[in-house]
Symmetry: C2
Subunit: 300 residues, 2 copies
């Protein structure tokens, strides 16, 4: 352990770098048509925790890579996450009026523009990812492989498929295996690939890549369980949205299936396993270790 | 000219190849979750004319390339077109119940699934595009460059931006320059990049690539004008949707701005210019020449 390491400082520093990159990619409303850039910026800069890009950068660091060199991929991951939130919040989907304490995209810009803002973010994510001029020192093959993995994680067999399974499971009693399968696709795949993307682009060896994928699987699930717990007992003022919304919708969650205490125990176990996955890494993996612990403590 | 060339046979043959490729990429509902694959297949196999993939394959051919080698890119272009139709038809957008004579995605599967099917098609398009195992003989740099150009053509500065401008222009009197700018983004960019993608992947020289881009610009606009004319005077039974819908919505079109006769004359002029762009090509460009002429004759 690095006794001097401050996760809070680290996360703030990373957020600043990421926000600066977004400002660079989407510089205000100078572009035509301004409406779409406004809507894209609104959601991108709506106070996200930047978990996916931070994991991507931290994975690159853990294998000795350069943070700035993989920034386009990190930002692309956040854009894909953001598009999925905009579309999930639509009236035809979860019909949420607030997200992180701010009105959702369709409440501000209308439904048509929210649909288009999501489409734009997804498309522009691949524009960033596939632009080799932005990642000039990384071999084209690696950029392609990462783009493919991200598309797989976001597509029918990943995030979109998970969302479909989640909608199908509403109001239905599902078992733990099904719940795991849904979360692996809906949220797990993109978290896992966030780590893999940073590591692959930074030139990770196969063993390190496997370890980081494993870490990603563990914290992905831990994160989901923590999220479910927060939805039951979190502080709405801090959360920026109402609690109990999962239960009201008849969504099966880890707490509803296992109870709060067993859910918390499972999350703690996963965080320990995530630490074990990083056993062969040196102190360049300090941020990843700290992030894993943080999942249990977070109240945001 | 090849007097023996039959465009009808050519188009049928190409459609068959493309449909077979889609069957290969999305093999029925064996995949989990089946709902999303059903919705994706429904729209992909709803009788599209396959103009974009056919142009992509024909451009590859025109520069001496192999049609099967660029098939993943051709199919990706059709998937991006298809996603845009599904989202454009949604109640919050154009609210269309029929497309090509069949109920639209949200009428069959519901709004949530239609939004997700569009998201899936867009994501899966990039999955196909960035998978170098599917295009093993093409350098990774070229695959990346094509993926980037397609993302640009589909994103904020292309198709999505054009759709936003189009919505903004509804019921407003716009001038010819604005109408051109909207169509260049909304439909022109993806048609242009369809030709460029096929040509780049097939290893086109810069001059040939510039000529094909020019051809793409001309037929893209000709195609849009022909479409606008059909919307005024086409046969709804053949069109698969009602005529006059543009006028009812207060959409500015080329006929509403120039009149039918001047619009037709402009389309004919553009088709001649498209032919001129191909002046330095041999008879491997016969299909592209025939497609340009076909735009003026089509009644579909």
């Amino acid at each position: 352990m690095n006794p001097d390491f401050s996760l809070k400082e680290y996360l703030n520093n990373r957020k600043t770098l990421i926000d600066r990159a977004f400002d660079d990619y989407f510089p205000g409303d100078k572009d035509e048509p301004p409406e779409i850039f406004q809507a894209v910026r609104y959601s991108l800069l709506a106070g996200g925790k930047r978990i996916r890009p931070i994991l991507c950068l931290a994975a690159a660091e853990a294998v000795g890579g350069n943070v700035e060199a993989v920034m386009p991929a990190a930002c692309a991951l956040e854009m894909i996450h953001t598009y999925s939130l905009i579309h999930d919040d639509l009236p035809a989907m979860d019909n949420d009026d607030y997200r992180r304490g701010k009105p959702t995209s369709h409440k501000v810009f209308g439904e048509a523009m929210a649909i288009l803002a999501g489409d734009a973010l997804l498309t522009e994510a691949f524009r960033l990812l596939t632009d080799r001029k932005r990642m000039p020192d990384i071999p084209a093959e690696k950029i392609l492989d990462v783009s493919l993995e991200i598309a797989e994680a976001a597509g029918c067999r990943g995030m979109v498929g998970g969302q479909v399974q989640d909608i199908r499971a509403e109001g239905v009693k599902v078992d733990l295996d099904t719940l795991h399968a849904i979360h692996r696709r809906k949220t797990g795949a993109l978290l896992r690939v966030s780590l893999r993307a940073g590591a692959i682009l930074a030139g990770a060896e196969d063993v390190a890549l496997a370890d980081l994928s494993d870490y990603g699987d563990k914290i992905g699930l831990a994160f989901q369980i923590a999220d479910d717990i927060l939805n039951v007992e979190g502080d709405p003022a801090i959360l920026g949205k109402g609690t109990g919304s999962d239960a009201a919708r008849g969504k099966m969650t880890f707490p509803s299936l296992l109870g709060i205490e067993a859910s918390r125990a499972r999350a703690e176990e996963l965080v320990l396993e995530a630490h074990t996955s990083l056993a062969s890494f040196d102190n360049r993996a300090t941020p990843l270790r700290a992030i894993a612990r943080y999942i249990l403590e977070r109240r945001f």
